[in-house]
């Protein structure tokens, strides 16, 4: 039983530590992603029927 208690204890506190960190990190980096997404959509240069490589070349 002691092994089970340790396993779930470590997993729970790892979960809380990871989740706290990722929340802060994603909160900052996500703002940049939204800004870039809206900029590209307003340019209207993306053609979803073309392969990714074609669209990447257009963006450059």
């Amino acid at each position: 039983m002691e092994t089970y208690r340790w396993f779930w204890g470590i997993l729970t506190f790892a979960t809380l530590g990871w989740y706290s960190t990722i929340t802060v990190y994603v909160a900052f980096k996500g703002v940049t992603d939204i800004r870039q997404m809206l900029e590209k959509l307003s340019l209207g240069t993306f053609d979803p029927t073309q392969p990714d490589s074609e669209n990447a070349a257009r963006k450059k």
Partner: protein
């Protein structure tokens, strides 16, 4: 007695709602094409994808069933979360199925199936995806409303009004801005939701204590509360059924796949999978701890005979979370629920428009008309959610219901996707047989459960037919049907999309 203060907590919730609605409506001006509406122009990057996927996959309904699992099974209730985290990580790292799927440039999975199996299979796949998906999300609105009523201490008579308001708020920005609004609001909702989940969990751990939580599991559930294989209510059949469901959900669940298909390229989509994988452990374990805390702290008198184990967690939170923090909790849960509902509405609308109605459209539909049709589909899904939530009476565990309805299409779609990507002998006969057989078992179970005297208990007692066995049978027999019928009726092989 709930600690919710309409002045303090109501103001926090009101502020959250105003900011979310404003953000959701502001981005609608960027929607010019059907692609912008359904897959956000495929411009989503990694961190927005992680926030969006995490917010979508955690709703009030998730919080309720994972807390119920914690209350009823202890830590073993978090098993599906661990299985899904492993599935997400392995599939993200290897690119198994998701790489050829995203590389193909399709908007939905059935669109890919058309390339290998023809138009009829695409249409049939669309029908079972929508059938399973709508049955699945049909209970979301009611469960969300019930949570809010219980946690704020509102009069239960206000349940229908709460459901209506929730639906209207979500529908407005989803109809106007489609996937683009969903992504932007998902991001805000991820932050509010995560903040609320973390703060409330730290509060509970501080008040109850880790030792009390572990001791409660040991006392109430014994070793079965820690190990699902040794839990008399779970066992290996449960773990196997969950493994099938979680792998299939990672490969084909419409809201998860929508993030992959909205990503700006294939590697970005895979990074979203890898980055979000561990969140699925949090998704089950954090509310699971809330459920265990409710088990430890609530007396039988506080739950009463009128309430089920599903309601133990919100009743407990209503008594333990103080004024001010209660506003953050309700805002967090609203955020979780709105992001889930909006995402489910838009992604299932995509399948209805693209795969079910698509074959009947003659000629090219203008972008303006396409967006209008999609908006109407989203609105109709909203109406369905409202009435289904109002009239459907849930039998048994919520998580069991969700996985059984999900299996209606998860079983066959995962088999079709794997065969489509990697097996050159797969053909339309095998695909059609797999879809029909995969849907038959879970639908048969749900129908029997509702029509047979004694319901689920009688099915188990008289026929040994359980939800887990229905799921396992659906997955195994869908796979067998694909192989047998493909080999029985060999067709000219089409190219693999790899």
């Amino acid at each position: 007695m709930s600690h919710f203060s309409w002045l303090v907590d109501g103001s926090i919730v009101g502020l959250y709602l105003v900011v979310t609605m404003a953000a959701g409506l502001m981005v609608r001006k960027y929607v010019g094409k059907v692609d912008d509406f359904l897959v956000a122009g495929r411009e989503m990057n990694v961190f927005l994808g992680i926030a969006s996927l995490a917010a979508t996959e955690f709703g009030i309904v998730t919080c309720m069933y994972t807390a119920q699992a914690g209350y009823e099974h202890g830590f073993s209730g978090a098993t599906p979360g661990i299985l899904q985290a492993l599935a997400m990580l392995i599939i993200g790292v290897t690119g198994f199925c998701v790489k050829p799927l995203r590389d193909s440039g399709v908007m939905t999975i059935p669109e890919l199936f058309e390339q290998r199996f023809g138009t009829f299979v695409r249409w049939l796949a669309g029908v079972v995806i929508v059938l399973g998906g709508l049955l699945n999300m049909g209970v979301f609105l009611r469960i969300g409303g019930e949570f809010l009523v219980l946690v704020t201490g509102m009069n239960p008579d206000y349940l229908v009004i709460t459901m209506t308001l929730l639906l209207i708020m979500v529908a407005v920005y989803t109809i106007m801005g489609g996937m683009l609004s969903v992504l932007v609001t998902d991001f805000l909702q991820f932050i509010v939701m995560s903040l609320g989940l973390l703060v409330v969990t730290y509060l509970i751990l501080g008040k109850v204590g880790w030792t009390t939580i572990v001791d409660t599991v040991e006392k109430q559930h014994g070793v079965g509360g820690f190990n699902p294989f040794l839990n008399p209510k779970l066992g290996w059949e449960y773990v196997l059924a969950q493994a099938f469901v979680q792998i299939a959900a990672t490969l084909t669940w419409q809201t998860t796949i929508a993030r992959l298909l909205s990503a700006k390229d294939t590697w970005t989509g895979r990074k979203i999978y890898i980055g979000t994988s561990f969140f699925f452990v949090c998704r089950f374990l954090i509310p699971g701890i809330w459920g265990i805390a409710a088990l430890a702290m609530l007396s039988p008198g506080q739950i009463g005979t009128a309430h089920t184990t599903l309601e133990a967690m919100p009743i407990y939170l209503g008594t333990v979370v103080p004024i001010g923090l209660m506003g953050l909790l309700v805002a967090a849960m609203l955020a979780a629920d709105m992001s889930t509902d909006s995402s489910y509405m838009i992604t299932w609308a995509a399948v209805i428009y693209n795969d079910i109605l698509g074959p009947f459209r003659k000629g090219k539909t203008s972008e303006k008309k396409g967006i209008l049709i999609n908006r109407m589909i989203v609105a109709l899904i909203g109406v369905f959610l409202f009435f289904y939530g109002l009239f459907y009476k849930l039998e048994g565990g919520l998580w069991d219901y969700l996985t059984t309805t999900g299996t209606v299409y998860l079983s066959s779609m995962s088999v079709l996707l794997i065969a489509c990507c990697y097996w050159k002998h797969a053909n339309s006969w095998g695909a059609t047989a797999a879809i029909l057989i995969g849907a038959a078992f879970p639908i048969g179970y749900l129908v029997l459960e509702k029509t047979m005297a004694g319901g689920a208990e009688a099915l188990n007692r008289d026929y040994h037919f359980t939800q887990d066995r229905a799921k396992i049978a659906a997955f195994v027999l869908a796979g067998v049907a694909m192989v047998v019928f493909s080999l029985l009726k060999p067709q000219k092989n089409s190219e693999l999309p790899v």
